[in-house]
Symmetry: C2
Subunit: 331 residues, 2 copies
Amino acid sequence: MRCAVVGAGAWGTALADLLARNGHGVALWAHEPDVADGINARHENARFLPGVSVDPSVMATNELGRVARAAELVVFVAPSHVLRGIARGAAPAVQRGATVAVATKGIERETLALMTDVVAAEVRGHSVVALSGPSFAAEVARRQPTAVVAASRNDAAALLTQRVLSSDWFRVYTHFDVTGVELGGALKNVMAVAAGICEGLGLGYNPRAALITRGLAEMTRLGVALGASAQTFAGLAGLGDLVLTCTGALSRNRALGMEIGRGSGLEQALAGRDTVAEGVVTAESAQALAGREGVEMPIVDAVCQILFGGRTPRDAMADLMARELRPELDP
Amino acid sequence: MRCAVVGAGAWGTALADLLARNGHGVALWAHEPDVADGINARHENARFLPGVSVDPSVMATNELGRVARAAELVVFVAPSHVLRGIARGAAPAVQRGATVAVATKGIERETLALMTDVVAAEVRGHSVVALSGPSFAAEVARRQPTAVVAASRNDAAALLTQRVLSSDWFRVYTHFDVTGVELGGALKNVMAVAAGICEGLGLGYNPRAALITRGLAEMTRLGVALGASAQTFAGLAGLGDLVLTCTGALSRNRALGMEIGRGSGLEQALAGRDTVAEGVVTAESAQALAGREGVEMPIVDAVCQILFGGRTPRDAMADLMARELRPELDP
């Protein structure tokens, strides 16, 4: 099947490689000319996924307006803050009947829209699938066993995505709860910043485990308020991705949090990074969504206070611990 | 308040220290004379919690029959396979009206009883509390922020335990679901063995995150079959403790699994260990419980096949990955 991948960061490159190895023809759009050239000439994305060889059949291009031509599956995987513009640019060539998948994780700052909604607004008349779950790109590229979910309101679109992406070691489970799956992927990045801050402060495993647990609880609360199923957050796109991002060594958001926990300001921590730490933008969006929905999200609030409000990490984390003692659940 | 802690492993010692620092009088029973002597003479448990100074007011003793005298709170924290005998030995001195807490995590192999049921059968007529949650003893002893739950069918008993144990950095949440809280604490040890096996095989973070997610799902299934609340497993005693034990460097069960993943047999991996890896015993008990209740637990089965059935870790893990693709949840 002909496929297009729109975005050649680490995850886009790994997905393009995966599709090609599954026998599909893959066009991959890269913003940067050197990235497209490197993939075509040396079959490597030296900027975003160095050291991994990309299947030689992957054709990289900088022509956004043509990448989706004749593709039956188009996967969008650009950073969240530029996704709308990129989807708009790619839209004219998306053929009728194509399935559109979105692997970007985030919440649009201005509209508070989820990524599938952003893409659906720009590429109209297609079934949209959210692809999410615990999947460090570098591990997928090295064929470590990985399990993700493909969520859509259209069963056939989810099943097509599952069939095209699945292999012996890359398992795709279908899902019905698009909102829950997308929120899980977006919000976990904020929790990863929080986990990194704890670690940067020199705190141990006990506080990190408590933070992950309470973090999942507040993610679930927001999700349920927005119509998601609570159970989705106990699955791969919720708990699974949260655990990966908060405990795995390859997480950018956690790494950023660690720098901040050790005393860097946000600008200092962001300087010199070639990749996006989605958790920073998502923290603000999540706080705004929680405010709109009247949902308490104390960890998101603490991260925002630290990133944007000049609060010290130690003070904000101490406040989190000092919240009133009460039953963990209401019976 | 006068308290007794029955069992001077790492966790019993840390709990005794915590109670003493909260201003309570603490008697601590140790099985080993050298442990009791070391705590009394040098305020250190060099065998099970080396390098940590124990509050000098903690009085250690080897006299099981007298340790609980005059205590208003008695905390049992012996290894699961000897807990019944120890509870029986301590029972005669437990005073009327005392609250009995159980911090041991496991499932009795012969009866498939949970630890609070074992203690309640031996120390009759008391309100029993299950204490569980993500809490490496060495971190509690070093006052890292920690959050746990105290679950009881008797609210007053849970509240008393909360009040006596809580401090600025050690947070105790009350809970109503004793079965769920206990099963979470017990079953997570089996998942930690599985996570260690994956790691020993050289697998990455993606498979570990998937394993934790699917592991929590099967823990929850068994719990619900036994009358627990599914939500309990999303909390500190479920997800929290699971994440800690599967990802933290201090977990014995994970360390044991790593050795087995690297090719050691069970006997070889157990040899020379001074401490108990509860996950080994609990794997068999969990499999038996799952069989009795008709619940599918593929990860528990895989661990049992590897530990007791001569299956190679690689084969058993490959089978787990190769299970049929289906929706993650039923809508």
